[in-house]
């Protein structure tokens, strides 16, 4: 029904969609799986007319179509339901459906209600047209959006992370609804990063990785019973195939018997069960897992940015749990955030000051609170040279640098001075190949220098390339720890796909 012919979309510095060839058939629920940043959202934007492809084209019922805006996509029968409700909460269901009609005509609410009733009956949902949308559950609101799309004549329905906000039951219902829609001859494209839902609701699964189509699972295979094997395969597709694990062997683990440098004891974060963790000098401890499973909260609790509900954080045996961010930094606990532009730096401030954000008012850069331009400048020059930061000058606003160079500034800030343990959150996210390699070398060098490293990443290849031990985080807890080795990929994969079932 709809097919992508080599569709490519580039943004500055990234290829978001790289020569995609995918066919979507009527009567099929087609699941699109992929990690954050794999290119799912871009693909949705291309299909719903928010973006146009740089190369390649979209075939609709055999004819080449260019969709320049969402209205055109709608006219072609492509309807999109987004994760966050696009309804007006203070209006009734029927009024919401009437929105977008001609402005000079009085909306025909009874007519809409009648047409709604037919469709509702057809697809087996019950909705009151007079109900105020704000009083409906999120699942019901989504049904309203689906009905709105159907009333506008959609034959191709995109559900973008539609289950992301739903309760498990509501997600189950939505899945059943998708199946009924497909039976009525619609093509449904369901975007998710939840493996279990993909297996439960999908006829066909496509996996995106780094903007490319990493692989597909055919309806024949999905119809089979061996879901364990299929989910293992999908994890491979999502996070990298076994063949590409050609990273250098990990550095040998630090001497056993030493007391750990960084230790979390029954550290309670948010509502997750308490976490225990110990990392020794020279060790890189990797935490793998799908994004949004509590990694950020855990890192922030360690760094002191968000409060922990209980437990201890020991650095060289000293409890840091009561200390502030700045005090922990001074003691040697460092945090390289993944939110480089949002919290790691201030774009309009010069590089020289960004390098010193965690040493404010310290000598020799400030004396009695008064800025000393000469030492600040000299220190910045030295760091720029040491960390190979490419910039016209140390006074350049950091926002003008490329992502790789901004990351180098963060590395310079966190690795300098008396560091003892460093938390890296997705350290190579969004970097190009060269900067990725350089950053990983820095991490390895920091470990060889005797620091304890906590590496949090969603890139399994990166974790396998660098870590000595690997844990998987899901739902805010560490579900298991394995030694890195030839079997680690399989073991971590099993932990991850096991969680998915």
């Amino acid at each position: 029904m709809l097919s992508l012919q080599g569709v490519t979309k580039r943004y500055p510095g990234v290829v978001a969609n790289d020569r995609l060839f995918i066919d979507f058939a009527a009567g099929e629920v087609h699941v699109l799986l992929g990690e954050n940043g794999a290119g799912k959202s871009t693909l949705v934007a291309l299909l719903s007319g928010l973006q146009t492809p740089d190369q390649g084209f979209i075939l609709l019922n055999g004819a080449r179509q260019v969709m320049k805006n969402p209205a055109q996509a709608l006219r072609h029968g492509i309807g999109t339901v987004y994760q966050h409700s696009m309804l007006v909460p203070s209006l009734s269901v029927a009024e919401n459906i009437a929105l977008g009609g001609a402005w000079w005509r009085r909306p025909d609410l009874p007519g809409i209600a009648a047409r709604m009733a037919t469709i509702c009956q057809d697809i087996g949902v019950t909705l009151d047209p007079a109900a105020i949308v704000g009083t409906l559950s999120l699942g019901e609101q989504q049904q309203v959006e689906i009905i709105r799309a159907l009333l506008r004549g959609s034959r191709f329905l995109i559900l973008d992370e539609a289950t992301g906000m739903l309760t498990p039951n509501a997600a189950q219902e939505l899945g059943a609804l998708m199946r009924r829609l497909a039976q009525r001859g619609l093509a449904v494209l369901f975007i998710t990063h939840k493996l279990r839902e993909a297996l439960a609701f999908g006829d066909r699964i496509s996996v995106l990785r780094h903007g490319r189509l990493a692989g597909q699972i055919s309806p024949e295979r999905l119809a089979g019973t061996d879901h364990g094997q299929i989910s293992a395969d999908i994890v491979h597709l999502m996070f990298g195939s076994a063949q590409s694990a050609a990273g250098p062997a990990p550095v040998p683990a630090a001497k056993a018997g030493d007391s750990p440098v960084l230790q979390a004891i029954a550290l309670a974060v948010a509502h997750a069960p308490p976490i225990d963790l110990a990392i020794s000098a020279g060790e890189i401890f990797g935490i793998a897992g799908i994004d949004g499973n509590g990694q950020k909260q855990f890192a922030e609790a360690l760094a002191g940015q968000s409060p922990a509900q209980g437990g201890h954080i020991l650095l060289d045996g000293q409890d840091l749990a009561a200390l502030t961010v700045g005090e922990r930094h001074k003691k040697g606990l460092r945090y390289v955030t993944d939110d480089r532009l949002g919290e790691g730096t201030i774009g309009s401030f010069p590089i020289s000051l960004n390098l010193l954000f965690k040493n404010l008012a310290d000598r020799p850069f400030w004396r009695h609170g008064i800025e000393q331009p000469a030492p600040i400048h000299a220190y910045a020059e030295q760091q720029v040279a040491a960390f190979d930061i490419r910039t016209p000058s140390v006074d350049t606003p950091i926002g003008k640098l490329s992502g790789g160079n901004i990351q180098k500034v963060l590395l310079a800030r966190e690795l300098s001075g008396p560091a003892r343990a460093v938390i890296f959150a997705k350290p190579t996210n969004g970097l190009d190949v060269q900067n990725t390699i350089a950053t990983r070398q820095r991490i390895r060098a920091a470990a060889s220098g005797g620091l304890a490293i906590l590496l949090i990443s969603t890139d399994l290849d990166e974790i396998l390339e660098l870590s000595h031990r690997i844990a998987v985080m899901a739902g805010g807890r560490l579900v298991g720890v394995v030694e890195n080795g030839p079997d680690a990929r399989r073991e971590v994969g099993e932990m991850m796909s096991g969680l998915a079932e």
Partner: protein, 340 residues
């Protein structure tokens, strides 16, 4: 050089011509109006001294706004903070003057004004620092309360029993802020100039100022760097409101001598666009405030002589501000290589 002409000089000329056009439509002679403004505001000794004296309060209000705005705190409650401080100082000064030496009265009253101003910001500061309540709304609301409270105080509590109009006791000229050398310029001007320069240096050159600017630029980054953000927000409010209160004290001790009921110069709302034009730079604010003072003082005389409304100064000022804003937008677009 051509950029300065384009972004500052041209709008200035255009504002004069446009306002002149309005004057002409009102039936007044624009050339006569501007001549009187310049003569009375700048080129007569008395006028120049009056202009300089009138700069003091706006300079301090400017300092108050620069501290707040550079830290990303939109304290728009300066008028309430100013007026309450003015009333309390006006009530206290004549009493203190009887028992204390002049220098002690004056320094005590300046401190009192600052303290009253700061006190009037505690509520918005608490709400902002710990509850994230939008300070634009709370400070503006506190201004309504502050202005009303100031009026109540003048009419019911501090009214001078010897006058028929409700006003506070008048501070004798001999007890006011001393003049600068042998002029009639009040030393309030020195307080204003020194304060705004100090504020500029603190914001630009100290670790404390940098912390405030970080909070202003990105609270997330400030938290990441380990700054005590709520405490810093609190001190910004305190500092900014104390400076507004100081402005009130200086205006009473240097110029007004008393507070009449329903008096409210509303400096803050006039000064807000001026500090933005100065790009929140204290040095740049000084000449802008001087220009504003000349227009106010000279404009008052000109209005009286030519029979145009006294508020016409504000028309000239507003036209100038709008044109400066427009030229700046155009300049920005040109530099970004965009249209225009």
């Amino acid at each position: 050089m051509s950029r300065i002409v384009l972004t500052a000089f041209l709008p200035f000329i255009a504002a004069i011509i446009l306002s002149g056009l309005v004057l002409w439509l009102l039936g007044a002679n624009p050339v006569a109006y501007y001549t009187i403004v310049v003569q009375r505001g700048l080129f007569s000794t008395g006028g120049l001294q009056a202009s300089a004296t009138h700069m003091a309060a706006p300079l301090l209000i400017g300092a108050s706004l620069i501290v707040a705005f550079r830290a990303g705190i939109w304290n728009l409650g300066g008028d309430g903070q100013f007026l309450l401080a003015a009333v309390v100082v006006a009530a206290a000064a004549p009493n203190l003057a009887g028992i204390l030496p002049r220098w002690a009265t004056l320094s005590l009253c300046l401190a009192l004004g600052a303290a009253v101003g700061a006190a009037w910001s505690v509520l918005p500061a608490l709400l902002k620092a710990y509850q994230g309540v939008n300070e634009i709304i709370t400070t503006l609301m506190m201004t309504f309360l502050g202005v009303s409270l100031a009026n109540v105080l003048v009419k019911l509590v501090f009214a001078d029993p010897h006058t028929t109009v409700p006003q506070t006791r008048t501070l004798p000229v001999a007890d006011r802020l001393p003049h600068v050398f042998h002029t009639t310029i009040s030393s309030g001007l020195l307080v204003g100039v020194i304060t705004i320069i100090l504020v500029q240096l603190v914001m630009a050159r100290t670790a404390f100022g940098l912390k405030l600017r970080m909070v202003g630029a990105s609270q997330k980054a400030a938290l990441h760097a380990g700054l005590p953000v709520p405490r810093l927000i609190f001190s910004v409010f305190g500092l900014s409101a104390a400076l507004a209160g100081l402005a009130g004290a200086v205006d009473i001790l240097g110029v007004q001598g008393n507070v009449r009921a329903d008096w409210n110069p509303a400096y803050t709302l006039t000064v807000v666009p001026l500090v933005f034009l100065a790009r929140l730079n204290g040095f740049a604010a000084i000449p802008l405030m001087f220009l504003f003072a000349i227009l106010s003082i000279g404009g008052e005389s000109a209005a009286r002589r030519l029979g145009v409304p006294n508020q016409f100064t504000l028309v000239v000022m507003a036209t100038l501000l709008i044109l400066l804003g427009v030229s700046e937008t155009l300049d920005q677009r040109r530099r970004n290589g965009g249209p225009g």
